[in-house]
Each structure stands twice: as structure tokens, then as C-alpha cells.
Symmetry: C2
Subunit: 333 residues, 2 copies
């Protein structure tokens, strides 16, 4: 294993120190228990949104803390759930009196710990709602997960719900919106290579020089099929096909098309993938009203990508376009 780290057991802590050093104008990083909050937290009268999960998926979630997106993120160790005490401390740090939404990817440990934190927070009188994202059509009941896994739709839900919270919507409204985003989005990914967990020191799974894993999870969980390496055209056909099988879209529908890199895939290839996706959707008279191309939800140094489609309406589009000021996503005033 060659990585730009020191001791594997220190990688997450040192990463967080780096984020603190680089972005102290934007976020505060708390240690023991560790969480990242926007520098102006708590924002009085605003619903706060807290997310979190194992490290190794950066910029998700810590890179999405800031005005217009998350109020706090709780980083676990690499590919390990954060603990309820991290979540509770983050909740206390961001609670502005209008309640807190936990936006959680569907992995058993994350869900269990966020549920426990929600109980603890409610005991303290904080109104907490929790929405679980499960957009990955790759497989059902995977390693670490009952039901479908939560992947790319998480980024979109964090952005859209963050905008709604910033506009002053209530906790039930923001939670309902989050469920709408989850219900309107599907994803599937592919791995060309495995990532390597620092503490393990070798690739999570083995792929031959001519093999790819279709439907892979963001922790290297097995997908639908170990297939022969194929063209971008064919891979996009499989990924987008699976997404469209599960998310009925009609001619004239408009979507947000998200091509996400897994960490070790250069932008050049993501644009080739986007080009194929654009042609496929255009052929079906599905309009791409918005897009996002880049590495936003990664899996350490895995090579590969995922495709997420989100059906848009006017409200979701306006919330997507609203200003956001994070290190990972940034636009608008």
C-alpha cells in the first residue's frame, strides 16, 4: 500500500486537522468526539441538518458543511460508522431551536447509531427527524445493509434540503422534502479497481486486469455482477439502464444527472461517461435540466464511477440552484 499518510491509525485525525487548518474561515472541527460544524453554528431559528458516516468518501460529508447545505458532519473512522456521542455533540452544537434533521445513508451501523443519537437528543428536548437515503439499485441486502444502500442521492438531498432549511422551512417540511428527493432518485456504480483501507493495507477486493464490478458499493461491497471490462458506452448503458428500470421516467421528464467519480478516476473519464449518459437520455427524450460531474462521494482510491438520476420538478430545481457555500460545492451569492 502506498498512500500519502503517516500511521494508518492517524489518517482520519490528521485529515481532520488538515481540514481545520485549511478551512477555519468556513468550518470548526471539534475533536473527541469529532465533528465538523459551520463556523456560524448554531443558526437561530433554522432547521439544522446533520449527516455523517465513515471516512473515506470525501468530500462527503465534511466538505458539504456550510451555508446552504449541512450544519454538521460526523466522520467515523474509515468505512466505520460514527458513534452516537459524536452525533449528539454535533446536534447540540447546531441546534438553533427549530429542530434537527438527521440525513443518513442506509448502512446498518449508521442507521442504528443515528437512531440512538436521536433518542438521546429527544431526551434533551431537541426535535429530531431522521430520513434514510437508499437510492442504490445495485443490490438489495448487501454487506453492511438491509435493503438498498444509500449513495449518490445523499449529495443531492444534502444540497436540496440544505437550501430549504436556509429558506426557513420547518422540520417536517425539510424531512418531507428529503423523502421526496430519496423517492425521486436512483443510482448505480461500477468499480474498475478496489480501494485500499489504510488500516487493512491491501485492496478490499480483487479484480482481474480485464474485470469490473457492476453495482459495487462505496465500501467495495459486491455488486450485481463481475463483468468483463467494457467501453464507457456499454457501462453507461448498464448503469443507466438499471437506474431507469427502477425510476420510471417518461419522454419529456427532466432530471438532474450526476456522474460521480469514486476517488481515483480522473475528470477526463467522467466527462466521457457524462457524454454517453447525455446521449442515452437524449435518445429517450429525457431532458437533463441540471448536472453534476466530479468526485463528490468517493471510496478511497477506488477507480470507477456512479450514475445518479434525480427527477426534477420546479421546486427541486430552484432549491438545487439556491446558493451554497461549502468547500465541496459552491455557487451563488
Amino acid at each position: 500500500m502506498k498512500k500519502l499518510i503517516n500511521l494508518p491509525q492517524d489518517a482520519v485525525r490528521e485529515e481532520l486537522e488538515g481540514i481545520a487548518a485549511a478551512h477555519s474561515d468556513r468550518v470548526r472541527v471539534h475533536a473527541d468526539p469529532s465533528y465538523i460544524v459551520r463556523v456560524d453554528a448554531p443558526v437561530r431559528g433554522k432547521v439544522a441538518i446533520v449527516s455523517g458516516g465513515g471516512s473515506g468518501h470525501e468530500p462527503m460529508h465534511g466538505g458539504f458543511v456550510g451555508r446552504g447545505m449541512l450544519d454538521a458532519a460526523c466522520p467515523g473512522e474509515v468505512f466505520s460508522s460514527p458513534t452516537p456521542d459524536q452525533m449528539l455533540a454535533a446536534t447540540q452544537a447546531v441546534n438553533g431551536g427549530s429542530g434537527v434533521l438527521y440525513l443518513v445513508k442506509n448502512y446498518t451501523g449508521d442507521v442504528m447509531n443515528f437512531e440512538m443519537a436521536a433518542e438521546l437528543a429527544r431526551d434533551e428536548g431537541v426535535a429530531v427527524e431522521m430520513v434514510v437515503i437508499d437510492d442504490d439499485v445495485g443490490v438489495r441486502d448487501s454487506l453492511h445493509t438491509a435493503g438498498r444502500r444509500g449513495v449518490g442521492a445523499t449529495v443531492l438531498a444534502e444540497k436540496i434540503c440544505g437550501a430549504a432549511a436556509e429558506l426557513g422551512r420547518s422540520l417536517p417540511e425539510v424531512a418531507a422534502l428529503c423523502r421526496t428527493v430519496n423517492a425521486s432518485a436512483r443510482s448505480m456504480g461500477v468499480a474498475l479497481t478496489s480501494g485500499t483501507v489504510p488500516m487493512v493495507g491491501k485492496p478490499t477486493f480483487a479484480l482481474g486486469d480485464d474485470e469490473i464490478e457492476i453495482g459495487v458499493g462505496i465500501h467495495g461491497e459486491p455488486g450485481r455482477e463481475r463483468a468483463k471490462a467494457a467501453s464507457a458506452h456499454d457501462i453507461v448503458g448498464v448503469l443507466a439502464g438499471a437506474v431507469l428500470d427502477d425510476l420510471p421516467l417518461s419522454r419529456g421528464d427532466r432530471v438532474l444527472a450526476f456522474v460521480n467519480g469514486m476517488g481515483a478516476t480522473p475528470l477526463m473519464e467522467l466527462y466521457v461517461v457524462y457524454n454517453e449518459l447525455h446521449k442515452l437520455l437524449t435518445d429517450r427524450a429525457i431532458g437533463i435540466a441540471r448536472n453534476l460531474v466530479g468526485s463528490y462521494m468517493t471510496s478511497l482510491d477506488m477507480a470507477g464511477c456512479s450514475i445518479t438520476l434525480l427527477r426534477l420538478d420546479e421546486e427541486l430545481t430552484a432549491l438545487w440552484d439556491a446558493p451554497v457555500l461549502t468547500t465541496g460545492l459552491r455557487w451563488g451569492a
Copy 2:
């Protein structure tokens, strides 16, 4: 070779089609000869800035086309110089009557072709100045280069000169500023793995499982030393040490610290590197007034990073902070 492409010889063309499909609100992509221009080009009365170089370094340069940065970028084939006819066509597309700056990385082919394009453009009555960036202290007189190579400072020069041009500065002023940025910045990189050029199909160079290439070029050119894999702490010591040997900084100086990923290195590791750099500079009482952490000048799927330091004064800081609206860098109004 596993990549998310179709035929290797089509990768750059299809990437450009993807960029055109994704960002038609921001840029126009011209084919044959290929170049990318801001959607509102030419901007009357503004100095235009044109850059370019081989593909495979994305988001550089095409991702930096937009308000506050580049007016046009000319992409060559992977790791191959763009041609004078691309540069001339881009120049004609962006010339707003106040002259054009060619901002060129120091590679023999790029320099030669931009010089040829400058002559052709001047024959047509366009005022052209050219500034060559050569900030890489790794080696002198490398493969493809006489003198030092141009690397990370290019991103900073494009941003800072783009801001100056947007403010209405004259061509000689913007060119002088570009020379100041180049004179005030130094870089060095390290490779943990080689990238693979699609048309070649195998890694550009071979590195053992316990080897790294110190001072590597962005095309995989040899660096100073093939060394044993080392900790982030030690690697940063070597890279920043070489930069500081060449760029005299004193206690109390303020810099922009840029930690750049080479394409296959996840953000997690870049923040560990940034953390080490922050500690090293703090120990020397050099202040980091601004920073940039991410993969902005890549080398296909090479794993590794580079460090660039730019000595800042008030003017450079203000120009860095000025609004920029590109797909690769975006902030401000």
C-alpha cells in the same frame, strides 16, 4: 488498461463533447480546430487570456475557462501540444480589441506552437503577449522541456491574471503580473504510481510497490530521485524543502499554499499532506494566508501530489479573492 473510455483515440474528442453537453451555459466548445471559450466571448475592451496544452491534466485548462479566469483553452491530444491553428482560432474567438495574453506552461512543444500562433495573430493585427510558466524545481532540462517545467503555478497565474483582466488592466500590465506570479511561485511533485496514456495502454513508467518518484513531471517525466515510499510527513519535508530552497521566504512572509492531487489521489490524503505542510510552514513562521487543496492539475490516473507555494502581497491576495466563475474554480459574486 481499464479506463472509462471508448476507443482510446476518441477519448479527448468525447471528453470535449461531454464538457460541451454539461456546461453549455458556461462555455462553448469548438471542434476542428478544438478550443473551449467562455460563452460570452469576445468580451469587448477586456484583455483576453488563452492557455492550453495536452489533455490529461483536467480540470486544467478547459475547466478554468470562464469569467474571472481564462477566455479560452486549447486542448491537445493526451500529453501532446495543441497546434498553432487551434491557438489562432481561439485567439480570434476571444479577441475583444485589447489584446491577448498567452499563458503557457514551459514544455518545448507548447512554447513553440504558442510562439507560432502569436506570430500569426500579430500578422492579423492582434496584440499578443506570451508568458511562460516554469515553477517546477524538480529538475532542470527534463524530457520535453528546456529549463524548468511549468506546473501548479499555472493554475494560480490563470486565476490571478484572469481577475486582473476582468478589472480592465492593460495587456502589458496583465503580462507583467503573470511574470510576477511566476517569479513568486515554486512547485514540486511526487508520484506514487504512474498514469496510463490511453493510446499507449500501459503505465508511462514503472514504480515498485515500495517506490515513489520525487520531483516527477506531470507527464511522468523522471524527477530528482527514485526513493523508498515514505510518510506524508517526510514527503512533505522533501517537497516543501526543495520549494523553500529555491523560493526564499522569511519569517512573517505570507503565502498561498496549494496542495494538488495528481488525479488518482483521494482528497483524504491531500488534507493529510496539507496538515503536514501547515505544520512545516508554521514552524518557520511563514503564514498561509490562502490555500487551495484539490486535484486541479492532474496527470491522468497518476497517484501523487504536488505542493506549490506562492509568495503573496496585498495585490496578489486581492486578485486571488476576486470572483471567479468556472467549472473548476468558483467563488464570489
